[in-house]
Each structure stands twice: as C-alpha cells, then as structure tokens.
Symmetry: C2
Subunit: 391 residues, 2 copies
C-alpha cells in the first residue's frame, strides 16, 4: 500500500500552518512569544468556569453530555440573535448556526460557496488559516492592498472584471495588521458588493476587544446579505471551540447540511458553558478586564517599539485586537532572522506567511496579548538589537 | 443577492440527515424512541464528570481552556496508542489523531482520499452519515450485500474491475444491522484489499459494547495500512465530541493538515476530560455498566419482537452495539408507516435511508439502547399492532 499515491488531488493544496508549527517551538516558558494569537490564559476565570460547569451539570444532567442539534443549542442561538439585533437589523434564531470555533465557520462557508476557479477577494496581507481552509476548493485569491484604514476598497472596482464571488474581510483589528476598516470604506464596500452581487464574509473575532477610538458598525449592519463569523475564542476561551455564523436563512440551511457531515454538532457541554458564562452577565464583567490588560500590553509594545526599534522601521497602531505588523527596510528578510530571534528567546511570525504574491518578506507580525508587560519591553529590546545588526 | 445562485456545485450533493431531523420530532418525553443512536443519558456518571472537570481545571488551570495542538493532547494520543498496541501491532503517538467526534474523522478521511469519480465499496445497508460526508467529493459508492456474518466479502472479487479506492466497513455491530463481520471474512477482506491495493477504513464506534459472543480482532490488527476510526461517543458521552483516527503516519500527516483548516483542534477541555475519565480507570468500571444495561435492553427487544411481531417478519440478532434491523414482507413500506407510528408514540428509522440502489423499503432500524426495558416492550407491542394491520 503506497499511501502517497492514494491521496486526493486537493491534498496538494493543503499544508501545515507555519504558525501552528511555530507555536509548538515557542511553548517553552523561557521564550517570550509574540507569535501565536493566543489569549492570556492567566486571565481565564477558572473559579467562574468551575461554578458554571457545576451549574450546567446540575441543571441539565446527562442532557449536557448527550448528542444535540446540528444548528446549536436553541438558547445560545437566541442569545446571539438578541446580541446582533439592533435598530438596523433583526436577527432571529434561524439566522444563527453554532460552529466548532470560528475556523469551522470559515471552512463550512468555503464548502458551500466555492467551486474550483471561483475568485475570492482578500485583504493583502490576510488571515493565514482562511487561505488554507479555502485553497483546497480550487478557488483563486485576488489580493487587495491595505493602508492604515484597512482594505483599499476603491481597488475593488478594477477587480470587477474578474467576476469575484466572495469578498473576505476582517474589518476590526485585522489579522495580521491590527488595522480597522474605516466607516466610509465600510459603506463603500457594501455598495460595491451590492452592485456587483458579490457575497461578503465578515470575520470578526476581535470586534469586542477595542482599547481606544470609537466602535464602528458591523458590515452586516448595513447589508443583510453578509455572512458574519464570530467566536468566543478571544472573548472567553479558545479551548471551548465555540463560534458562530450569522447569515440569511438560506445560507444557514446549507451550512447546517455541511456541518452535519463535518462533525454532527458542536460539543453540547461547551455550548452550555459558553451560554452560562456569556448569557448570565459574566461576559460583560470579563470584557473590561480583557480590554484593560490587552490595552496596557498594546501600549507597552507601542512604547517599546518607539523606544528601541530602528528609525527605518514602521508599524501599525491598532485600536484593538491582538496584533500589529512591523515593516522593516526592504533588504531585511524576517523569515531568515527568525532562527536567531528564537535563539535569543523571542518568537514572532514572519509577515510573508500572510501575504499573497510573495510580498511582505520584510514584515513581522507581533502579538501583544499573550506576553506580560515587562516581558514585552524585554522582547522588543532583544528584537531591536537583532534588527539593528541587520539594518 | 440571490443566494441560491451562489452555492457551490457540491451543495447539490448535500442533504439534511433524515435521522437527525426525525430525532427532533422524537425529543418529546412521551415518544418511545427506537430512532436515534443515542446512548442512555441517565447512565452518564454526572458526579464523576464533575470531579473529573474539577481535577482537570485544578491541574491545568487556564491551559485546559487554551488553544492546543491540532493532533490532539499528547497524553491522550499516548493513552490511545497503548490501548491499540498488542502483540500484533505497535501503535505510537504519531499514529493517532484526535478528532471532533468520529464523524469528523470520516469527513477528514474523505477529504484526503477521495477525488470525484473515485469508487468506494460500502456495506449495503451502511452508515448514513458516511454517505453524506463522502458524497460531496463526487465519489461513487459500490454496494456489497450483507448477511448474518456481515459484508459478503466474496463479492469484492467481482468488483475489482471497477478499481475501488477505499472499502468502508463497520465490522462490529454494524449500523444499521447490528451484525458482526466473521473472523474468516475479516481475514479474507484484508487479503483482497492487499491484493487489490485498496485502503480499508474500519469504523468501530461500538466494538467495546459486546453483550454476548467472543470479541474478534480489529481489522487494523491484521493489516497495518488500515485507517481505523474510534470515538468516546458511545463508551463515554457523545456531547464531548472526542474521537480519533489510528493510521500510518503518512495518513495522520495529511489528516492533520485537513484538520487544521477544519477546526484548528478539538476542544482542549473535552480532551482533558476524556483522558481523566478514560485514563484513570473509570472507563473500565463504566463499560460493564453499559454492557449490562444495553445487553438487557437488547434481550428485552429480541424477546418482545419474538412475542409480538408477525411471523412474516425477520430481524438481525446483534451481539453488541445499539441497533437491529427488522425486515418485513416486501409490500410493506416502512417510510409510509412512520407517521402512524409517531402518532401512536413510537419512533424508528425507515431502513430505506441506509440502503443504496433503492433497496430496504420494507426494513426498519430499531435502537434498543436509549429506551428503558419496560418501554421497549410497550413500543414493540405498539409497532407490532401497526405491522399486523398491514401484513
């Protein structure tokens, strides 16, 4: 049996995520990791999680551990529907699908929307795991450049001739840049998508994590035919693997069919736990804690960058989320620098990973959420010395 | 935006599972449900689950709720590797992938193995959710008949001319028939698969649930190039969504790539909980409880069938698992009878759902695991009256 001759053609389009592999190397306590997009586990409210689990098991007994509906727990869907409803839009239970993390939402969306050769517009750079999830469908990516206000939406007009099917967008505190799509561009994006009959997939894992500036409306608020993806991973705990899709009913119906085959349903226990934590007020007390801590860490990183990094470097100034992107002079290759950085006890993700068209070799993504303040200064200082020796 | 014009071609091959839809209709307390393959939730050890969760959170704190490796927790992979190793085969951590239930294992296997037009040999009838998971790849199913000893393996020789790529098989207490592949046929299956260079996918959710007869070796014990799928759903609790694949390393590598895109990793908390329950001896005390209870329920159903069902009906006599299949005279259509059965408070799954080639319209699948003994007799009596009025 020669397995290599057995694999399906689409496997040629699959690869391991460089980041997830890198995370394994940086699990050592002595490494200051700016690499993975990990929340700060020391902030997780263990006593509250314990009491929530006890409450769930007391209330639902064996049913909390039984099979449950593919669409998700009705009460959790209702809670999300209320949370997304506002003066502009009314979201109902039928518009909500619970998924096994936001990643499964993206995977399922790719499965129901994309045929081989379909064109997908993405920010460049964009979320790496979106590319790996959708690439095996045979879809092609059309990159659009970004600046401090997010995707340069005006470029979409010239891409219309390629007849794109989907626009994928992380409007708030984008991964890897940390930038936010401006209000004017959100409106323009919706208009262009409507004109061209292109679906928008709005991926919003970080929207609740804003540390400065004013909250902007979701794209889904303007345009009720957006597929919106959310998750508890960044606002509660990623180990639960509970995310969701908010979308028109026809889309939810197809996604539900795809999810039945993918994993039957998302863990019953974890959905109950998420609802117990989110639905009974805990989330509203926990979000300010996250915002305060991550906001301080962001400030610490911005200050350390200003203090230590070479003048030839530039970086984004995120108003929220977990990441910022540093751009170094053209001749510096951050992938080549990484082994030396790891050796000196600091990890980052080379920005090349997130870019299409071979761009971004001189960029690096830094996560400020997972390292304590004092370690942020130390880590940035170490990196700056390394950079300086190559500038 | 017309969503119906937007969906990918593969969505035409997707559909909702009739069983999962039926389960919603049978969630009413007053319905005696022989329909879904649900474990008996009243047997779930809630106090033990609570103490296990506390132990996990005390030991691992925030890390129990953090992102974790796509392959699964190393300790859980090691535990499974030891469990599957025996004199015949040595399974190592690298041969184990943790999945979000057995269903995700099947989905991922389809993604890495099947191109459009590939042929897959399946028992007829077979597991419904396997068909829905693999159909969207464009694979074609070649059905093989079954008898009391499982798949008629001798038929495989005549199918060789179709150059099948994969044989999918549930050797122990098959769903929906409850039959077990005999030892002689296991050996013959392995020989034929080796000769023809066909991969075997051995799906074994029920193997530990044997109530009579002697345990048979796994197919994977004979042939180290089998992809073996297992799950905690039937031996612990399905709401955890923790399953696994045991396979050669080359296969695990591809499956890991596919899983990264599918949902990053399986819930960290649930993997810890499964390991805490399974790895510290609880499983060995819980399995006898399940075997005793389900065994009694199986006996109750077989007795009630013998006592009440028309002489023209036949049924399988499973040595384990959760299901048996009843065959009625040709002219009876069990799909047409279902509404009347539900009206009288009894649910089953029409056997047609599991069959290829339009067969099995006169069959029904009965699950004996989820109803208490006294309700089993009542339910079978009700069904028999309904059958009698149509025989």
């Amino acid at each position: 049996m020669n397995w290599d001759q057995c694999f399906a053609q689409r496997t040629a389009l699959m690869r391991r995520s460089a980041i997830r592999e890198l995370m394994k190397a940086t699990a050592r306590e002595d490494v200051i990791s700016f690499a993975g997009g990990l929340p700060a586990a020391e902030l997780f409210p263990i006593p509250r999680v314990k009491s929530a689990l006890m409450a769930v098991l007391d209330e639902f007994n064996g049913q909390a551990l039984q099979y449950s509906a593919t669409e998700g727990l009705p009460e959790l869907r209702d809670w999300l529907a209320r949370r997304y409803s506002n003066r502009g839009i009314r979201v109902q239970r039928e518009n909500v699908l619970i998924t096994t993390g936001g990643q499964q939402a993206l995977d399922l969306i790719g499965r129901i929307l994309l045929d081989s050769g379909d064109r997908v517009i993405v920010e460049n750079p964009t979320y790496l795991a979106l590319l790996s999830a959708w690439r095996p469908t045979g879809a092609e990516f059309l990159p659009v450049g970004c600046d401090a206000d997010g995707m340069r939406v005006e470029e979409l007009e010239s891409l219309a001739r390629h007849k794109p099917k989907v626009i994928y967008c992380v409007p708030n505190f984008q991964n890897p840049q940390g930038t936010t799509l401006s209000l004017a561009r959100r409106k323009q994006l919706v208009e262009l998508a409507q004109e061209q009959s292109v679906a928008i997939v709005e991926d919003d894992p970080y929207g609740e994590l804003r540390y400065s500036g004013e909250a902007l409306p979701n794209i889904a608020d303007y345009f009720n035919q957006v597929i919106h993806v959310g998750t508890f991973s960044k606002v509660l705990m990623p180990g639960l693997r509970v995310g969701w899709v908010i979308a028109p009913e026809a889309v939810i119906e197809k996604l539900t069919q795809a999810k039945q085959s993918a994993d039957l349903h998302t863990s019953t226990l974890n959905q109950h736990l998420a609802l117990e934590l989110a639905g009974k007020g805990f989330l509203e007390t926990f979000l300010p804690v996250l915002r305060e801590n991550y906001g301080e860490r962001r400030n610490a990183m911005l200050n350390a960058l200003a203090k230590y990094f070479p003048k030839s470097a530039t970086w984004t100034r995120p108003e929220g989320g977990m990441f910022l992107l540093v751009t170094l002079p053209r001749h510096i290759n951050t992938s080549e620098l990484l082994p030396a950085a790891l050796e000196q006890g600091v990890a980052y993700v080379p920005g090349e990973e997130f870019h299409l068209n071979g761009e971004g070799k001189n960029t690096l993504r830094l996560s400020f959420a997972n390292a304590r303040r004092e370690r942020i200064e130390t880590g940035i200082k170490t990196l700056s010395r390394l950079m300086a020796s190559h500038v």
